[in-house]
Amino acid sequence: MSEPLVMGIETSCDETGVGIVRGHDLLADAIASSVEEQARFGGVVPEVASRAHLEAMVPTVQRALDEAGVALDDLDGIAVTAGPGLAGALMVGVAAAKAYSLATDVPLYGVNHLSAHIAVDTLENGPIPEPAIGLLVSGGHSTIMMVEDLAGKVTQLGASIDDAAGEAFDKVARLLGLPFPGGPHIDRHARDGDRAFVEFPRGLTAPKDMERHRYDFSFSGLKTAVARWIETQKAEGRDIPVDDVAAAFQEAVCDVLTRKAILAAKEHGVETLLLGGGVAANSRLRGLAEERAEKAGLILRYPRPKLCTDNGAMVAALGSHLVSAKVAPSQMTFPANSSMDVEVVSLADKLA
């Protein structure tokens, strides 16, 4: 077989994504998003997302096939996010992928969303040196991953024990009167703000926490601290300097994320650090990671912002890697698993 042609389907949150790759080449990345609808509710409403996935599923597959100029019968694999994510949303993608696979006789791969966030980097920067440390940050996850073998052994070193970093961005944006999703707005305002304006707390960095939660994160205390600070200022009749608060908050998040990821790489003797997830599009996270990786002598890799957010391309990229690595396809009976363990890269051998 030449380079495998793989379609990836992603429906773990509010984007219906269908990507098509050949080997490491991205041929199509079609996305239908319910984010505008979700914005009316100030966050992702699972039922709204699931309804939108059903509406968008087949048209988005067709759009991706057209864009790539290929037919379903040409595919060597169909990969789909089996978890983690919103249960009802995942089920739409998993059911569709199974049906496409059965109708076309193309092998099916149920894959892990987090591993797919790592795999997407291959589309931009080629094969991933193993081992590598992945820092995945989005509205749904804040995870430090150890990638020993992208086709088989991916483990979690740490994760947020409460809010995901992206959630904190959304909540603080709301406090500052900025629209949902908050990430891009905070990033933009922070550019004109003073990062050292207020020293907001860095969760789980105290010596005692570094013993028990060495690579874990906590962002709910930070969000509360920002809320309290704003309340106090308002009570004293002061205006809220949006740019400065955005910059100081963003600094607290990016500081702790990069600090712990670099620490994980150093302590595990790993030379490559990968960024992924929607928050990896944040300019300060990239900047700070670059600065610190260079200082630590690490190679930093991240794909362009559009590939960082949830999309079908990342699922296709992981699928392509699994096909190349000759991993056995998944059984038709695999479930959608909303709390899927990061160690299950492909459902092929673990859950079926």
């Binding site: 009316r40 059903l54 089920m91 059911a95 569709a96 049906a99 695999f334 479930p335 959608a336």
Partner: protein, 210 residues
Amino acid sequence: MKVLVVDTATSAVQAAIVEVDGDELFLQAFRREIDPRGHVERLTPFIEACLAESGRGEVDAVVAGTGPGPYTGLRVGMVTAAAFADGAGVPVYGVCSLDGIGGNTLGRALVATDARRKEIYWAVYDSGAREGDPQVCKPAELPETGADYAIGEGAAMYADLLPVEAETTPVYPDLVKLAELAAPRIRSGAPSEHLTPLYLRRPDAKPVRA
């Protein structure tokens, strides 16, 4: 013509292959399991088994029950039908799932399925023909329907609360009936349909700003 029929509007996960031969319909293969949480695991394997059992020949059309039904399971059946049809390059047609029960009834029948949250989806059938659109409400709040009896999973569950006598054995949408109701479209090769579930309820969410 070989037709794949699926329905997941009730706790029954169902798939069948029905042969539509002129005015006659034959059930060639059938799988059903009562498993309200098992739609995504069971449905495609059921279809696979039905295809294997029904032997040679490609599927010519797909028919899906479009509810009303509990959304998560219902969507699994509908997206499976739509994706299978798209993958096979054949048309897909939707039929109201309640018609798969009511279409087989005689006299005046109240068809009721379980809508969760202590409610039922319902419609009234006169000699097998539905009167009006399906509705959702609490069993005790059902308006006067003039029905002689009630039938369906919801009727069996809430027999005590319904104003008419209910059949206590749950009845699920009949896939051959769903195929029969879609048969004019199948035979004439009507264009494929964009399937939208009969939700009957809005999502539980309030806009943050008016």
